[in-house]
Point group: C2
Amino acid sequence: MYRINFSEFFTSAFSVDCMLFGYSQGQIKALLIKRAMEPYNNFWAIPGDLVYPDEDLDEAANRILKDLTGLSDVGLHQAQSFGHPKRHPQGRVVTVSYFAMVRIEDFNAKASSWADEISWVPIHNIPVLAFDHNLIMSTTIELLKQKLRVEPICFDMLPDRFTLNEFQQLYEYAYNQPLDKANFRKKIKHVPLLAHDEKQKMVKHRPAKLFSFAKEEYKTKVETSDYQFKM
Amino acid sequence: MYRINFSEFFTSAFSVDCMLFGYSQGQIKALLIKRAMEPYNNFWAIPGDLVYPDEDLDEAANRILKDLTGLSDVGLHQAQSFGHPKRHPQGRVVTVSYFAMVRIEDFNAKASSWADEISWVPIHNIPVLAFDHNLIMSTTIELLKQKLRVEPICFDMLPDRFTLNEFQQLYEYAYNQPLDKANFRKKIKHVPLLAHDEKQKMVKHRPAKLFSFAKEEYKTKVETSDYQFKM
DNA sequence: TTAAATAATTGTCGAAAATACAATAATTAA
DNA sequence: TTAATTATTGTATTTTCGACAATTATTTAA
């Protein structure tokens, strides 16, 4: 087997791309940045950065998240890696994509050193992006949709207190199909929700009750029974 | 934000680790190699290699698979990436793990330049491995189990013609629990199988009918209906 | 040749979940 | 007070799940 010089392997760089998903106005949205540097200056892109030599991949993803949002302690999910030799014009850069769910209202995402402008874009209307970011984005969105089916990550996007309709509409948008109200409520019977006395306000119709996700109860339920979240 | 010199980022290498899974004697097994070079000389490890500068990740995974088995055109699944800064003693090496299902009987896996010896080891009995390969292996095995639930990849491990009992036992081993025969057969009613006239031979009891997976029929079924494989 | 043994295959029944659709209750705004 | 709107609950039917029983086909030993 042919072998190139060992040192010639150590000539590549790594980046992580960190997709943020949130939910507002009935749509699941992804955070995009407008690049303020070459290459692909002025293109929309997924926030990302090179990984420092002494940094683990997860650390780098957390750093980017912190830069963008000021948030830490957000659950990050590794998605996939992309390594086409020509994917980056300035050298061999393999990228690892991550995603996280956030509550859009909870913070002001800020443009950072690499970006002029940011924007929340509905995942069904992603524009042309820099590099191979369209491939990365679509792959990751598919993964997100799959995870929404079997893990209660939707509650990381919903406000702390939400109505059952908001909950339902999130899934209607994700699956791109309407769901029956009555049956939806039957389906979530097993999901541990905390009902509040508080009601919706400022609406011009009967206000809906507000609920929260009972995270601790969920955890013990998963551990003690063989319950599996399933939508 | 602090920035190191751009060129200092281009000092890492990456590898792919390529897990092979097969099924024999009622057990799902993984192919391990015994390393014949430093570091971790003589340790069991997952087959893998550094990726060449002009190679895509998938290409590298296919190359390793070809070296080991002579097989190409095998469906490869990307699992996860691992990038702890100290995971490799000789420098920064991020690894991307892949896995594939094969029919163990279909070929003779051969030791290659980096390995003395190979072995098929039941996934429930993985020994101590080189590097962080135990982490990689267990993560990937979990992913395999998840995919077994929703994709018909089990048929890539089963012989071309199999009995329903072999089919069932594969899932019993994966889930580590016995399944009811009658109910199993009801569950797979929707899976497109081709029944052969041929029967099992050389068994000391009533021979079971042999089946094959009807791959093409499966594909059209997925496309035309909203059928989803589910075990 | 026949019976015992073994495993394949099919059937039944009740419980639980999914689906379609209807009815009722609680608010707001005019 | 009432129309409009939406939340919430209910009913009836079909489909799937899970436990278990019954039947059938084949081999081997007597």
